[in-house]
């Protein structure tokens, strides 16, 4: 009988007959994603230039562009934006103060955006942010212990924030992964909340013990970029850079994890290992961000969601890099506002990031559910 090779007569009707609008639907989805990426990139570049130009003193954009390392030479002959002539003072301010501040904002924004995207993917939980794995509380404590108890060693704040952030995350992982049933999402989140509470309590204890010094810590708690030049970046730059590079290796495994642990395992990844790696890299990024700019954890929660809402996809191949762009752009714009609102007084960037991010986020949320 030759039945085995015969195509089934009752094969479902739609097989091999794709609807004609399939390619169009895919192209529309792709162009929407491209639009989001390009939009973010444009905002990021413009904000980067403006962040250098606008500070307590305003430097004209043309002058700013001319003073930027390598960018100035490349764009010298361009109409409108080329041909500025910076004087030595402008150069000094731009190169030693404003560019490092701008770079710090980009690194911090990108780190927190990626940290949030990794955690939300790894924990399959839309509420995940660096806060839930204890990093924020740990970093806060690390900074406070220096600022309040050892104010003479203020240069150690970044390293202490980094170290305690990683310590807190390490404790959370140890508790969450030990013993039977370790590595479950619920256990990780509950361990994060518990360990975070310990560090928050310790921070409160410190504030009670040194009430007269608390005011010096407000900028760190609020989230703040400052004009320390390159010194802090030079100390810690490799942590966020390493975190961002490692995050790229997790994009595809996280996409598999989105199909559930069983399917992910069927596709050749170990769900627990991926979850641990993603959480560890997110902890590294968030702790590094805290060491550079204080507690801005909210950015990590809101930016990946905004990216998903705007682009219509949750694929990590898109969300992780776009969250890096989006986080950097949001923090840069917020930083510009925070410096101009009460100029020449610079306010902490954190509240402005929230003021800017939340309405944007709520608008996207409303539009998506409409």
């Amino acid at each position: 009988m030759a039945v085995a090779s015969a195509r089934p007569a009752d094969a479902p009707a739609s097989t091999g007959d794709p609807p004609p609008d399939r390619a169009a639907a895919r192209a529309a989805a792709r162009s929407r994603q491209a639009l989001v990426l390009v939009g973010l990139a444009v905002v990021l570049v413009c904000a980067a230039v403006l962040a250098v130009a606008l500070g307590s003193t305003v430097i004209p954009v043309r002058t700013t562009i001319a003073a930027l390392p390598w960018v100035g030479d490349t764009l010298a002959g361009w109409p409108v934006i080329g041909g500025g002539v910076p004087d030595e003072a402008d150069r000094q301010i731009i190169e030693s103060l404003r560019v490092p501040r701008m770079v710090t904002a980009v690194v911090v924004g990108a780190s927190l955006g990626v940290a949030g995207a990794l955690l939300q993917g790894a924990l399959a939980n839309p509420l995940a942010s660096p806060d839930v794995i204890g990093v924020t509380a740990g970093s806060g404590f690390g900074a406070m212990i220096i600022l309040l108890a050892f104010p003479n060693a203020v240069t150690l704040v970044p390293l202490s924030a980094l170290a305690f952030g990683l310590l807190a995350a390490g404790l959370v992982f140890a508790v969450a992964w030990m013993g039977r049933g370790g590595g479950s999402i619920l256990r990780l989140i509950l361990a994060g909340i518990a360990i975070g509470a310990v560090f928050t309590a310790a921070t409160t204890g410190l504030m009670t013990a040194f009430p007269d010094r608390v005011s010096t810590a407000i900028f760190f708690i609020a989230g703040n970029l400052n004009e320390d030049g390159w010194s802090v970046l030079r100390q810690v730059w490799y942590y966020p850079v390493a975190g961002l590079v490692l995050a790229a290796f997790l994009i595809r495994p996280l996409d598999r994890l989105a199909l559930g642990d069983d399917v992910a395992q069927s596709l050749g990844v170990r769900p627990r290992a991926i979850r641990l790696a993603a959480a560890a890299i997110a902890a590294l990024l968030a702790a590094a961000a805290a060491s550079l700019a204080g507690l801005l954890g909210f950015l990590g929660l809101v930016v990946p969601h905004a990216i998903r809402l705007a682009s219509g996809t949750s694929s990590h191949r898109f969300v992780v890099p776009a969250s890096a762009l989006g986080g950097a752009a949001l923090l840069l714009v917020a930083d510009i506002i925070s410096r101009r609102v009460a100029a020449p007084l610079a306010l902490p960037v954190g509240p402005f990031m929230v003021l800017l991010g939340v309405p944007l986020f709520l608008w996207l949320l409303r539009r998506a559910s409409a």
Partner: protein, 320 residues
């Protein structure tokens, strides 16, 4: 052989090929409790094997161990002649695809994106999926009859559509062995029949298919071989109508029931649902006082393309 006669497409499958998967004496313990004890199984290309058994018999656990999702406490599981713990996750991902019982439904992922994720074991790390991969995704969607909704979001699909997408994700892996844990348990009659036809067709195309099935009539209709599990042991294996006889149904499931399969591939399970003599009864129960026989079968037609349609709408009449 009676099964070969009832299902013509099966007569054409190669009678004896070396198994791709061989499990013998498999023990699995979960949290200190023994769940599977000395279970055996062999999977061959072009053969559909259904594991049946009561709730808690260890079917899912055994299948997960065979698929490499659980580490067995004892026994041997060989893939391609090699012990499973030496095969490695990455190679295993190219040998078998696993469709779980309750798949996660990702938010914000379109069907074709999910199927492309299924393709990922075949796409090199850090390489973008190429034309061949996109064609493989379309092929998987077509074979799973999911092409019509390939652009929709996963969250908008019905249960039957979702299960076909899961099948497409598994097919995109391009593995010679397909393992599915109760792929039809949440589906209505029509969706179950569609899934049965798809699985049968994939088998005819050459896949080795392993299913956990609760519906015995369905198992009898689509399987070349059924393996009966009872209290963690594989107690019988063979052609469905040979294995699922009245005595075994009484012993393993503790019901008075009989399985009927007729020449055109229709199957029915006749159960004395309310028979108080119930458990362990091996005698005839369909006397005049017996409740009317109920047909629990989804009526899956398992012989796609089979030329020989036996009778004219042969009824699922009891043969007693």
């Amino acid at each position: 052989m009676s099964t070969a006669a009832t299902r013509p497409d099966r007569a054409a499958t190669p009678p004896r090929v070396d198994p791709i998967v061989r499990a013998s004496g498999v023990d699995v313990r979960l949290g200190g409790t023994g769940i599977v004890h000395g279970a055996d199984l062999a999977l061959r290309a072009g053969r559909l094997t259904a594991i049946v058994g009561p709730n808690g018999a260890g079917k899912s656990t055994f299948v997960r161990a065979v698929a490499g999702l659980l580490r067995p406490a004892g026994g041997t599981i060989e893939w391609d002649g090699e012990a499973i713990d030496r095969v490695g996750q990455r190679r295993l991902a190219r040998l078998r695809a696993f469709v779980p019982q309750r798949p996660a439904v990702p938010v914000g992922i379109a069907v074709h994106e999910a199927v492309m994720i299924g393709r990922s074991p075949r796409v090199g790390a850090f390489r973008r999926p190429g034309r061949a991969d996109r064609e493989a995704v379309d092929d998987a969607l077509a074979r799973a009859d999911a092409l019509a909704f390939s652009e929709r979001q996963m969250t908008t699909l019905s249960g039957g559509e979702l299960q076909r997408v899961q099948l497409a994700i598994a097919l995109a892996q391009g593995a010679p062995v397909l393992i599915a844990d109760e792929p039809t348990s949440a589906l209505d009659l029509g969706a179950t029949a569609t899934m049965a036809r798809l699985l049968r067709r994939l088998t005819v195309e050459g896949l080795a298919v392993l299913l956990v099935v609760h519906d015995l009539a369905l198992a009898a209709a689509i399987a070349d071989e059924v393996v009966v599990m009872h209290e963690g042991r594989t107690v019988a294996a063979g052609p469905p109508t040979d294995v699922l006889d009245r005595e075994r149904l009484a012993r393993v499931w503790r019901v008075d029931a009989s399985l009927h399969a007729d020449a055109d591939g229709r199957t029915a399970l006749q159960v004395a649902w309310l028979d108080e003599r119930g458990p362990g009864t091996t005698g005839r129960a369909d006397g005049p006082d017996a409740p009317p026989a109920a047909d629990a079968s989804p009526g899956a037609d398992a012989s796609p393309g089979a030329g020989a349609r036996g009778g004219t709408g042969a009824a699922d009449a009891p043969d007693g």
